[in-house]
Point group: C2
Chain length 277, copies 2
């Protein structure tokens, strides 16, 4: 496993690998890795000759009052966890965003709802950095966790709209034993918050159970999930929506493949999760 920090060196490395006919898989991350990231890595290793994992806490995707400053960072820990990657790309902020940087990529429709409605500029930051990383790493396939379901769909749209030759692969959410979706932000939770955070997935699973028993009314399914959440007083709901799994449009009648997506605050920590019906 090789660590590359220089953008040009990263490009040159990929160019010579491609000349040898190697396929490249890519796992972009903001570091502080967990089993969710490692499942992406594993997926990529199965499907590609070379796997690049990037670690870059991208300021562009954080709002002014969000957690950029306290976002957990531990490169040595990440390096140990990602030793199955062939290359870790770990660029500098000043190289990614030189002083005269001023170009942004934006997907305008799919980013209007869900997290996009509560985090203005977030997805513009995501698509911009992912476009940059794609152009640097030039992957054949890129892997995104479905915990960030909207992000996954938005990036698929960007790649399609801008005629990029990259296969975007969404991988299943990885959960703690008690159901909490893995997230670097789980680290923020106090002991009591961590306990109550299980309510998030419990609510989603309960709604899914009722869907499987035949309930197709989105308002009823949301009510069912909300009733679960009421038992967890530290959870404050930001949104709970049922949307089409491709268009992210709200549904009148719930169908297989639709997504129930949720964002909550547990104390000061914002967490998201979803289930596919």
């Amino acid at each position: 496993m090789k660590v590359i920090t220089d953008i040009k060196q990263m490009k040159d490395t990929i160019k010579s690998l491609k000349k040898e006919g190697k396929s490249v898989g890519f796992v972009p991350t903001m570091g502080y890795l967990h089993q969710g990231h490692l499942s992406l890595l594993e997926c990529s290793k199965k499907e590609n000759d070379i796997t690049v994992l990037s670690i870059f806490v991208n300021p562009l995707q954080f709002g002014k009052n969000e957690d950029l400053d306290r976002y957990p960072r531990d490169f040595e820990r990440d390096k140990n966890m990602a030793k199955d990657a062939d290359i870790i790309f770990y660029p500098d902020y000043k190289d990614m965003y030189p002083q005269d940087f001023q170009t942004y990529v934006e997907v305008v429709e799919l980013t209007k709802g869900l997290c996009g409605a509560y985090r203005p500029g977030h997805f513009r930051g995501v698509t911009t950095v992912v476009m940059k990383l794609f152009n640097i790493v030039n992957p054949d396939r890129a892997y995104f966790g479905k915990k960030d379901y909207q992000q996954y769909i938005v990036i698929k749209q960007m790649v399609k709209d801008l005629n990029m030759d990259i296969e975007i692969i969404g991988c299943p959410i990885v959960r703690e034993e008690d159901g909490l979706a893995m997230s670097s932000r789980n680290k923020y939770l106090s002991e009591e918050e961590r306990k109550q955070a299980t309510g998030i997935s419990k609510a989603l699973f309960k709604a899914k159970e009722e869907f499987e028993k035949g309930e197709r009314n989105p308002e009823k399914l949301k009510e069912i999930a909300k009733n679960v959440l009421y038992s967890y007083p530290l959870i404050n709901l930001q949104y709970l929506e049922i949307v089409d799994g491709e268009t992210l449009k709200q549904k009148q009648i719930v169908e297989k493949g639709d997504i129930m997506a949720i964002a909550v605050y547990v104390g000061n920590t914002r967490l998201i999760d979803n289930v596919e019906f």
Copy 2:
């Protein structure tokens, strides 16, 4: 010379040419070719194994009240004029912009002044389509005329900011014998308008002459140019600016390499031009 209309076929053709080690030069145009375009073609042919010229009138870069509908189109004429190109890429609107298209690329600072101030959304349309074309044609070098000086600088910035491996080459303005910069829009001019349109370059050349004699005050140089324009009553000035040739920022003292840029209406026809001091 081969005409390709299908995006996938264009991509596959380039892929196999690249596998053979061929370098690719690219000349994106909106068609209705003139000697300016042909000079780009010539430049590309000298510097690359294969030259692709694209013809696509990009609706995204036209404002609501602009000339999209009447923009001159004549594919047979263009095909004859561009027979030195190895490939003409002539995609369909519906393939370039499917119904769910929603991704835009925007350079935010360099597009604030000059034409950007008068044509909101224009450069967003340009950078978006150029990004798409770059991803389809995958060129090593791309050629832009310096008549559209701001466009050339904006695209250079996009490529740098988004870490694309494409060399952007700006080629000199090609002029009619009487000095009028070549433009597909010159076709719109009536006989009398066409005569008076010579005033545009005459004004710029007069300012450049005075610069060469030692004048360094931007206000005085602009005054000199404006005084020339006063003799051409059909010319209505939209803007006349002196800017740095790289940052496009206005100058207090004019230096070599700075640009005097002008936009005018001659009757209903908007024309632009510039000179480098």
